[in-house]
């Protein structure tokens, strides 16, 4: 998409040097047909296998042992009523899942997660695009500005959580500030009020993650060839026309990928909520996310089987959302990375 507005569809044209470019047209199942092999490669087929094994063996072992295997294990425990020690023997079939889907508390956390997802997109996306367009100029102090924008993203969740909960508690700086500027009437118990808490959380999330969106969009803008803007200017396009007709469409892929990452992040939100609400306020004051529910039902209540089933539900929801998103939104950008892989 870097060349012209219309070239979104051209991504698939193999650029020079793309591995296996020749094979793209010829072989869907590349198995027997030796790929466009150079002479030494044909000679060293065994050697090639050895190299593949040596290079990809260790990463795969680590990945499978510490990511795939635990996830599969979680799926397995999801069928048991299991207290977290000894072997899981108490098979309950799909019962855990039935309980999850009928638990009003789960419906509530699902609602929270979806609200966070939608509001993250709606709040951060447009703001980040506007800011990125504004800041995408060669002005003095640009790199300082960028570093400062990124600060909240770089700071750990624990620190963000600790800082914000100190500021937002009823006797904290936020309320004090409101009093000083004459808005004392707006003082609230930002964290402990269960109705307000979810909005507080969304505000903190927006604050923490918008820097990442801006930086990503800036990176996207950087790669739009400047000649396009110049040409449009010569043709007499106004500033807003240029933004609307050139910048936004060309920024599309970046926006769509950012949205994808943001959606996955929202569905899996845990740290911030756990740190702010799990620690300072009893209960989670109306901010529970799916992951919080999982830990609360599983680890804290000692029912690991149920917690594991929640983990599986969470994963399935993420997977379905991701696949749908990829199918309908990212189709042009990702080319089926999840479903089809590189081959």
């Amino acid at each position: 998409m870097s060349d012209t507005v219309g070239s979104d569809t051209d991504i698939q044209i193999p650029s020079p040097g793309t591995a296996g470019a020749g094979g793209a047209r010829t072989s869907p199942p590349p198995a027997p047909a030796p790929a466009p092999a150079t002479a030494p490669r044909r000679r060293g087929r065994g050697r090639m296998r050895l190299e593949i094994a040596v290079l990809s063996g260790p990463p795969i072992i680590v990945f499978v042992a510490f990511v795939i295997f635990p996830v599969v294990l979680a799926a397995y425990y999801g069928f048991y009523k299991w207290q977290g020690y000894g072997a899981a023997t108490d098979w309950v079939g799909l019962n855990n899942y039935r309980l999850i889907l009928t638990d009003p508390a789960f419906q509530q956390v699902l609602w929270h997660s979806l609200l966070i997802l939608v509001l993250s997109l709606v709040i951060q996306g447009p703001l980040a695009i506007i800011l990125a367009i504004l800041l995408n100029q060669r002005i003095r102090g640009r790199s300082v500005i960028r570093v400062l924008i990124f600060v909240p993203y770089v700071i750990s969740e624990v620190i963000v959580g600790t800082g914000w909960s100190l500021m937002l508690q009823s006797t904290g700086a936020a309320n004090d500030l409101l009093k000083h500027i004459g808005l004392g009437a707006l003082q609230k118990d930002w964290i402990a009020d269960p109705k307000l808490a979810i909005w507080t959380l969304i505000a903190i999330i927006s604050w923490k993650y918008i820097g990442f969106a801006v930086i990503l969009m800036l990176a996207g803008l950087q790669s739009i060839p400047e000649e396009l803007f110049e040409a449009a200017q010569i043709d007499g396009a106004s500033y807003w026309q240029i933004q609307r007709r050139i910048t936004l469409p060309l920024l599309g892929p970046t926006v769509r990928i950012w949205a994808f990452l943001s959606i996955i992040g929202s569905l899996q939100l845990f740290d911030l909520v756990y740190i702010i609400w799990g620690q300072y306020v009893s209960g989670t004051a109306g901010t529970s996310t799916m992951a919080i529910y999982m830990v609360a039902q599983g680890r804290s209540a000692g029912n690991y089987g149920y917690g594991s089933a929640v983990a599986v539900v969470m994963f399935l929801i993420t997977l379905i959302v991701a696949l749908l998103y990829q199918r309908f939104v990212l189709r042009r950008d990702l080319r089926g990375a999840i479903t089809e892989g590189v081959s």
Partner: protein
């Protein structure tokens, strides 16, 4: 095969021939319009104010914080920071964080580069499945797997051991790494590989002499993300480490803030010092991260 189905972050390949926006370096920076600076300043103020609150809070006394939570320190107190800097707890946790972050970053970069190289430059039957395996890893947050992961780590005898944090962190860092690096590695022109072969370099020689240097921007980006990610990681240490001597800084901040929950100023000082390393590290490398994303996100 290849480009059609390939890249999550499309067409890093295309950025190569065109080069980075060419004018970027040639034209001198100029002062932008006041409106731009105004918007930037407002935005920065919103980003920075809470952080400043934490930092400044460390310079106050608790009574200052209680009477005027939003005021400036008056007078400035340095004792909180001095105490933290003198404490063994802080430096012990700092050292643990350094070990974890460096080891995880090294592991993620090395293993990630190895597997990305295979995925980008070799043709074999299981390549698609392998890529999908790693790509799917993006959808497994650590929290989902934490209970079984704990069991695996316990069986390996790594509970309350820094290695028990490092190894899973490497594993969970691989998907992002693979997805960012594969386009970079694939973008290296085949001709270079052929030339290297003709000159007698083995494929592994090619890997070390050509691939490593050429994919440096991607590698640096991945390295920074891995470092910051593991420096900030909270869930894994929370479950794996239980003796204070093994705590990393995020756990330390939490332990400290509940231990001294009455001493807000002290907590703020501790918190400020804990966030400093990641901030400094990021400020040094921020140009690289934008550059790397430009390559990975779009050509």
């Amino acid at each position: 095969m290849s480009a059609r189905t390939a890249d999550w972050f499309p067409s890093a390949a295309k950025q190569k021939p065109r080069g980075r926006r060419s004018g970027d370096r040639d034209k001198p920076a100029k002062w932008g319009s006041p409106a731009v600076y105004f918007v930037a300043l407002v935005f920065i103020a919103v980003c920075i104010a809470p952080v400043l609150y934490i930092v400044l809070g460390g310079f106050r006394t608790n009574s200052q914080i209680t009477t005027s939570p939003a005021g400036l320190p008056h007078p400035w107190v340095f004792g909180n920071y001095a105490n933290v800097l003198k404490s063994n707890t802080f430096w012990g946790e700092f050292a643990n964080s350094v070990v974890v972050a460096l080891a995880s970053t090294a592991g993620i970069v090395i293993l990630g580069l190895m597997v990305s190289f295979v995925l980008a430059r070799y043709d074999f039957k299981l390549k698609g499945a392998m890529y999908s395996l790693f790509a799917a890893g993006l959808m497994f947050p650590l929290v989902i797997a934490i209970t079984p992961l704990y069991i695996v780590i316990k069986d390996l005898g790594l509970v309350d051991n820094l290695a028990g944090v490092i190894v899973p962190e490497i594993a969970f860092g691989l998907p992002t790494t693979v997805i960012i690096l594969v386009p970079f590695l694939r973008a290296i022109p085949k001709e270079i590989e052929e030339a290297a072969t003709i000159d007698g370099a083995s494929r592994l020689g090619f890997f070390f002499r050509m691939v490593m240097p050429l994919s440096l921007p991607g590698v640096v980006t991945v390295g920074i993300l891995a470092f910051i990610g593991s420096w900030n990681n909270y869930v894994l240490p929370l479950y794996i480490l239980n003796s204070e001597a093994n705590f990393t800084l995020p756990l330390g901040v939490q332990a400290f803030s509940s231990q001294y929950s009455q001493d807000t100023a002290k907590v703020l000082a501790f918190t400020s010092l804990a966030m400093l390393p990641a901030l400094v590290f990021f400020s040094i490398f921020q140009k690289r991260i934008v550059g790397g994303l430009t390559g990975a996100v779009k050509g």
